[in-house]
Chain length 437, copies 2
């Protein structure tokens, strides 16, 4: 073992991700050194409270030094790689910047930071200084999706990437679908189980998924999109009734983040979306994640696995550490993680097309149905499925319409015509994912 | 563009895989050079018949030289990478050996070769001479599964890999399941569609899947298993009746190749297997492939996509070409594709455990059921589901038994007791995949 090169790791943070990294580095040390001929060792960890951290991680090797001063980690000349596992964008970014200036390679799972300009600037700084900056665990936890997009799929031209990239909302929607329960009740359960945070808005309002779509868009297409440009809808307004009606027509409701690139125009969005039950994404249940890609050569692929959690996320952070170890060993650090870049213009709203699912309530009287169909006809939208049944109170009728593909402009026109007609009440609208092959 | 490093590729073979490689290298040339700053060019292709090849590939650039002498490719000093796209194990291996001796890096999709000793020896030769030998497309066509196992998942300890890795049999079983048709009829259709070969035995008898399991076992666990050691059952004996009974109990029949590694013992097999309808593998339809992994840290993951085809397979060959281009650029060629290796002993038959699905027919008279249950009780096998119904002829009864986990020794005992009892007719037996999380 004396001939093994040793690589020292400094951890910033010992929460879920940091704890997972420390555990895997310890449990898998032998396999890691057997694989690469490199011995990896966590030598220092920056924590807020040393006693609490020791109490929470009794298995932590004695050889690891805990410190409450992050400079102890960043300025330690024996440390090669700094793992930022704190989250957040301000202090984490400052720490990473200091670490880069001290010549450390960086690994992080911090999608909040990597999805914004400050993160991109730090990545550029790393690249300019022959330093690695990897973040595989930032999207879809344990699934090695960024690696797959970056390397093997670089040979293809991808034009669509979509996915279930937020485990909390997928858990909530799965329980709503399978148990017929309401949003508030399932959210409370998810919070009790630790699957949703006390303030769940980052998850349930879709921002977390949007951040991951920014990163996926960069990796899949080489296109940088602005997080603020992405239309984001969360799942708060999804009702048990919507779910039931969608199910009876062959759909499951999922929070889908998606991006596509056609003829140099890019579009991305996050919204609760109807997924046909025959589509592979429809089978992704509970807190699992999946990313579905479409490419000119590879066609349709799906990468499925755990979207979060101490060990899955930790494993992907450790995979980045091992990649950097290889690069240090072969003196090839500083290659950009997202190799490919191209320009694309943001798609104009009127060019965005989608299949639409409309759920109306009307007074249950003669003539309402024809009035509604006329609205779609006026907008030149053709219908794929129409479904009417009386509501439980016998005074209103429920009408569900699934269209063929229509533009946002047509959608606006239908919305306007519906609003102009007080007898027609548009309960909910969802876009529908196309059938998979 | 003048500063771009140029890498020249020689192709051996211009069939499905070779044609896909040539097309992708041409269509995606700009993206490939933008991504890596390397210009890739196919300069020579070895074919059997130049005129036929030109007629079949009218879009082939004029700059590519076709030759009927493979030495023209192998001995061309300007060629850096030789892509073997002929298949077969003898001539292909000889060509690869000559190419390696001439200092060429190798890419192949030839699972027949890579799964046997001759292939492993060539890979070792490449490694010993600082040459790359990559074969991502050899398993599951367009799915970058070997890359994922090799690099990001090296940080985990995987203990199980299973999958649908033969598109032909999955197409046949899908049609049998969804349309209630028989094996022979669907096979004939698959042959007419070009999804099955004139001699379908390599696919339908399971050998092709077994080869891929040998490769997956090496990549997932670092363990080399002997192809001849793997018990292989194909799908010829799967009946529409089995499928229907299995479906009514919540299972889909799939040809599953699987390998697991527990406490230093390894086991692998290929057999038609009952997959619970809630398992992600159950949703893999038609000619699609998927590989399902289980690891200590990452838990359950699935990689889904096209298992074959000109462009998907071609894309993965091209991804290997790009990887080698990077290695040439950074002077890091010759790293083994399967980095990790460990020893494991082949599991003793009596230690292999599985849930069993038994389908019996008995004379429909009093006492038969208890006799059958007694056989399971004698073997100390406990039952999970039992299901009896009269057969259509009213003279025989159909009894289906799903057990809890039992050993091969217990299975033998049940088989023996059934044979000793002429009134009990064991129509079919399948093992059952455990439920996914």
């Amino acid at each position: 073992m004396a001939n093994l090169k040793q690589i020292n790791i400094g951890l910033l943070g010992l929460g879920t991700v940091g704890g997972g990294v420390a555990k895997i580095m310890h449990d898998h040390a032998q396999k890691m050194s057997d694989t690469e001929g490199i011995q990896y060792q966590v030598t220092k960890i920056f924590v807020r409270d040393i006693e609490k951290s020791k109490a929470k991680h009794p298995g932590l090797p004695e050889s690891i030094q805990l410190t409450t001063d992050f400079n102890d980690v960043i300025n330690d000349p024996s440390i090669d790689i700094v793992v930022e596992a704190m989250g957040g964008t301000t202090f984490a970014a400052d720490c990473i910047e200091s670490a880069l200036r001290a010549g450390k390679h960086i690994v992080t799972a911090n999608k909040d930071l990597v999805a914004i300009k400050r993160g991109l600037d730090l990545i550029q700084y790393a690249h300019d200084h022959q330093l690695d900056f990897l973040y595989e665990a930032a999207v879809a936890g344990g699934i090695p999706i960024l690696n797959s997009l970056r390397t093997p799929l670089a040979s293809d031209k991808l034009f669509s990437v979509s996915g279930i990239v937020n485990g909390t909302t997928n858990y909530i929607l799965t329980k709503m679908v399978e148990q017929g329960r309401g949003f508030d009740e399932v959210l409370a359960e998810a919070q009790a189980l630790g699957l949703a945070e006390a303030d769940p808005s980052g998850d349930v309002d879709g921002l977390d998924a949007a951040r991951k779509i920014v990163i996926l868009t960069k990796m899949a297409f080489g296109v940088t999109v602005d997080l603020n440009e992405i239309p984001v809808k969360g799942i708060r307004h999804v009702t048990a009734r919507d779910i039931q009606v969608a199910s009876s027509l062959g759909y499951v409701i999922k929070l889908i983040g998606r991006a596509n690139l056609v003829d140099g125009t890019v579009y991305a969005e996050v919204a609760p979306t109807l997924v046909p039950k025959t589509h592979p994404l429809s089978t992704v249940r509970n807190e699992m994640n999946a990313v579905f890609t479409e490419g000119a050569a590879t066609g349709e692929m799906m990468f499925y696995g755990p979207g979060a959690g101490e060990l899955p996320t930790g494993a992907m952070v450790v995979s980045d550490i091992m990649a950097i170890g290889q690069h240090i060993h072969t003196e090839t650090t500083g290659q950009p993680f997202a190799n490919y870049s191209q320009d694309a213009t943001w798609k104009k709203a009127e060019d965005i097309k989608s299949v639409g699912f409309f759920h109306f309530e009307t007074e249950d009287k003669q003539g309402q149905f024809i009035k509604l169909v006329q609205i779609f006809d006026d907008a030149k939208v053709s219908l794929d499925k129409v479904f009417q049944e009386p509501s439980s109170d016998d005074k209103t009728a429920k009408i569900v319409v699934v269209t063929h593909e229509m533009s946002q402009a047509q959608l606006q026109q239908i919305n306007q015509a519906t609003q102009d007609n007080p007898e027609l009440n548009l309960i909910s609208y969802y876009s529908v994912l196309p059938e998979a092959k």
